[in-house]
């Protein structure tokens, strides 16, 4: 038996997990997404990264970005290192990718603000 706090939504349910791997039985969750999170946590925990990327524009020295989909938790710092290599030199729009398929993880690094486009 293992206890896990769900981080999918602000409710933060405390879930109980019984069994191993994909056959794990989840209780204490209030929704389906909680159960999915629990299974993923047991098999391949994933997280979102939100950070910034350097730009060439002095009025907006950094631009907020995030991964377009969750990436494996143990790749967070590797992805950060990739993001920190890049400089945005065009006035891109919100949602536009800055790095495509970062480290082959299937996720893009996308701009989360249109501040450069204003």
């Amino acid at each position: 038996m293992k206890e896990l706090v769900c981080i999918v939504c602000p409710r933060g349910c405390t879930m109980t997990l019984e069994g191993e791997g994909k056959d794990v039985k989840v209780s204490g969750n209030s929704c389906k997404r909680g159960a999915e999170f629990a299974v993923s946590e047991m098999t391949e925990p994933k997280r979102t990264i939100c950070t910034t990327v350097k730009t060439a524009f002095p009025d907006v020295p950094v631009l907020p970005v995030r991964v377009s989909k969750e990436i494996p938790k143990d790749k967070i710092f590797d992805v950060m290192a990739e993001i920190n290599k890049v400089t945005v030199e065009k006035r891109i729009k919100r949602g536009e990718p800055i790095i495509k398929d970062v480290l082959g993880l299937g996720a893009d690094i996308i701009a989360t603000s249109g501040v450069l486009d204003e």
């Binding site: 981080i7 409710r11 933060g12 939100c50 950070t51 950094v62 907020p64 710092f77 989360t112 603000s113």
Partner: protein, 419 residues
């Protein structure tokens, strides 16, 4: 900018944007005033995700959430003025005269009603009685966030965070991602102040320790901060002598609470509820001054932006519909288990059939029943498996169905450990 508007909204953050859009949708002439150079308020620097789950069923970052409203706001061609500061508001025969300062000079604009969406500010080191020297390197979490996320500057390489409020937790993760070391998060209370999920995804994920019932009692360093003194605290949150330990670090980051900003509203004579530190309002979110509405974190400090927008919409809609009418107000009295309840009053001359009630419990309570009693008789109840102070609860209640009149006594209670 026109000389007169139906509604002037002060503050261009999520509450103000929602209020302005809603008031505009009611067909009124609206002006939104923002003191910074861009709309979006504090969300501009809240680049983490988790916004909009309630409203959009999506996990958005702060800028994405704000820009959805900003896009709509621009599309609707609502009048606005950024880099514009309200210096004075005067009550006039018909409405208000709002004096604005901007790069264009000083102007006065008239309004029939006002929406205060002025947000909140952070409590500072001196407000939590931190003593010692006055070095560089003492930041509120929001200030550290501004440096990191807007200016791209690293405010610390190795820090201690005091307070487990959400911004502190978010900054612990953020600074770790940017290569800084977070020695620990220290919380004077015996329970965390921030959301449980943030304890997990911001601290546990990054092996950042959380020390409950601990506080920072002193800072050291003549120029830049060099260390802090940490003490354990007793159940009254007073430091226990002999438990002091020195932790070396270059910054102390404070996440020790937010205070609604209502100095402008208070200047007009708006009465403040000492529990929320925001204006006491009725179900329409109208304050003690006719035609003055309040929403968002200026009204009470929210933990979710979704509710900030929601109260903005309520205030905007009612400000648009505002016309002077006699008030017939009764109090919503909350028992001691509540930290606060909003609204604090109901105006029986207005529609109270879909009134949103926001509340927080004072402590962590299990197996609770939220009850409304009219003249001692229970007229409403709702069960909660638990209530936690960091997590605000929201209910929509049809008060009109309770057949209230001026003599009605409305009391809100929480029954604990109910079966």
């Amino acid at each position: 900018m026109k000389k007169n508007y139906d509604v002037i909204v002060i503050g261009g953050g999520p509450a103000g944007l929602a209020a302005a859009i809603k008031a505009h949708d009611s067909g009124k002439a609206v002006l939104l005033v923002e003191r910074e150079n861009r709309l979006g308020g504090i969300l501009k620097q809240c680049i983490h995700d988790g916004f909009g789950l309630v409203r959009f069923k999506e996990k958005l970052s702060g800028p994405e959430y704000a820009e959805r409203f900003i896009d709509e706001f621009y599309e609707k061609k609502i009048d606005y003025s950024v880099l514009t500061f309200v210096t004075r508001i005067e009550k006039k025969e018909n409405g208000f005269a709002v004096t604005l300062v901007s790069r264009d000079g000083v102007t006065t604009v008239g309004a029939n009603s006002l929406v205060f969406a002025t947000g909140c500010r952070e409590r500072t080191a001196k407000q939590v009685a931190i003593h010692g020297t006055r070095p560089a390197g003492v930041f509120t979490a929001g200030t550290a966030q501004h440096f990191t996320n807007l200016l791209g500057e690293l405010p610390t390489k190795k820090c201690v965070i005091l307070g487990s409020g959400d911004i502190g937790l978010i900054m612990a993760r953020r600074l770790t991602l940017e290569g800084a070391e977070v020695v620990g998060v220290y919380e004077a209370k015996p329970t965390p102040s921030g959301l449980t999920r943030n304890i997990h995804q911001c601290l546990h994920d990054y092996n950042i320790p959380l020390y409950l019932s601990h506080t920072v009692t002193r800072v050291f360093g003549a120029d830049r901060l060099t260390a802090v003194e940490i003490s354990e605290v007793d159940d009254k949150m007073n430091p226990i002598a002999g438990t002091e330990q020195i932790v070396e670090c270059d910054a102390l980051i404070l996440s020790v609470g937010l205070i609604p900003e209502n100095e402008l509203a208070e200047g007009l004579g708006v009465k403040i509820d000492p529990r929320t530190k925001g204006p006491a309002v009725n179900g329409q979110l109208m304050t003690s001054i006719d035609g003055v509405f309040s929403c968002g974190n200026a009204l009470h400090v929210n933990d979710l932006v979704d509710y900030v927008s929601e109260s903005g919409e309520t205030a905007g809609e009612n400000a648009a519909a505002y016309e002077k009418k006699e008030r017939r107000e009764i109090d919503l009295t909350a028992s001691g288990e509540f930290l606060y309840v909003v609204p604090q009053k109901l105006d029986l001359n207005r529609d109270n059939s879909r009134t949103t009630v926001y509340f927080r419990s004072r402590e962590i309570l299990d197996k609770c029943v939220f009850k409304i009693k009219k003249d001692g008789q229970e007229v409403f109840k709702k069960k909660y498996p638990f209530l936690r102070p960091p997590e605000m609860e929201k209910l929509v209640i049809d008060f009109d169905s309770f057949k209230l009149d001026e003599s009605s006594e409305l009391k809100l209670e929480i029954e604990v450990n109910a079966e």
